[in-house]
């Protein structure tokens, strides 16, 4: 197969004789998807062909948006993976009703206590305070839509694009909805006067988020 630079890929795919570059790209993407989907159950050869076909259409339609900040083939793999995994998520969740998953759930999805035998009395007190604060904030500060989205995504592990589909919106809007929910919960914890470092330590969470949490407490 001919190796092409980014510019050569773009010119070849935009040119009048694009059968060969398209065939080459198809081969590259099929090979890539075999690796990308290796751990996914129930993916057939027909599925692979369908995913690649759909990806090729999107790639051709989006050539003008390729900014050249990666190799062209990396960009193309990214699109093919997005097409394939989105479809597989859709299939996995298509028979699940969001309404039945979230019916009757308010803040009850938080456990009463955090079962942690290694926690001392002080850590246990902080854990309990966090749980109580989160439960109250989920019940009082979140909208119904935010609560439903939180339950579906957090308790049931539903991918946010599938939650979005069930709620009649798209995944960007759903991410923003959940982002706003997290901000409200964060604000409730800050208002309770719980230093983020203390909360993280009480739950045995590594310090990776300390900077962001400390910054948020100063806002």
């Amino acid at each position: 197969m001919v190796r092409r630079t980014n510019q050569e890929w773009l010119e070849a795919l935009r040119g009048p004789e694009r059968e060969q570059p398209l065939a080459d790209l198809r081969t590259i993407l099929v090979r890539g998807l075999r690796v990308a989907l290796a751990g996914q159950p129930k993916v057939t050869e027909d599925d692979l062909e369908d995913f690649v076909q759909e990806a090729l259409l999107r790639i051709l339609a989006a050539l003008d948006s390729f900014r050249g900040e990666s190799r062209f083939t990396t960009w193309a793999h990214k699109i093919a993976i997005h097409v394939a995994l989105s479809e597989l998520r859709r299939r996995r969740w298509r028979d699940v009703s969001l309404d039945s998953l979230t019916a009757g759930m308010d803040a009850d999805f938080l456990p009463e206590t955090f079962a942690d035998p290694s926690a001392g009395p002080e850590e246990h007190a902080v854990q309990q305070m966090v749980l109580d604060t989160l439960r109250r904030a989920i019940r009082d500060d979140l909208t119904d839509r935010q609560r439903r989205a939180l339950v579906a995504a957090r308790v049931h592990g539903m991918p946010i694009e599938e939650v979005a589909r069930g709620m009649g919106t798209n995944r960007n809007a759903l991410y923003k909805l959940l982002h706003d929910a997290r901000q409200r919960l964060q604000k409730a914890l800050v208002a309770r006067g719980l230093p983020p470092e203390q909360v993280l330590a009480a739950f045995g969470i590594q310090a990776e988020v300390r900077d962001a949490a400390t910054k948020a407490s100063k806002i």
Binding site: E69, K78, I81, L101, A115, E161, V209
Partner: protein, 79 residues
């Protein structure tokens, strides 16, 4: 039907709430930069430092992280 968060999920919720930023990017913005982020990661450069908003989004969003890991696996297999 499952009705309650497990301990590890609760820890993740607490971590995610505390690490929430005011300036997060959405899934499309993350996906737009994912190819560059993965290539930097593979080149041994600190993608998280160079593109902290992408890194943060990947920590918050399971779907985007799944796509990141798949793309990383594909490029790694080609090395």
């Amino acid at each position: 039907m499952k009705a309650e968060l497990e301990a590890s999920e609760l820890k993740k919720l607490v971590r995610d709430v505390l690490s929430t930023r005011s300036n997060e990017i959405d899934c499309d913005e993350c996906l737009q930069q994912l190819d560059e982020f993965v290539e930097m990661t593979l080149a041994g450069q600190s993608a998280a430092d160079a593109m902290p908003l992408v890194q943060h989004h990947l920590e918050q969003c399971d779907s985007c992280r799944e796509e990141f890991e798949a793309l990383l696996a594909v490029l790694t297999s080609l090395l």
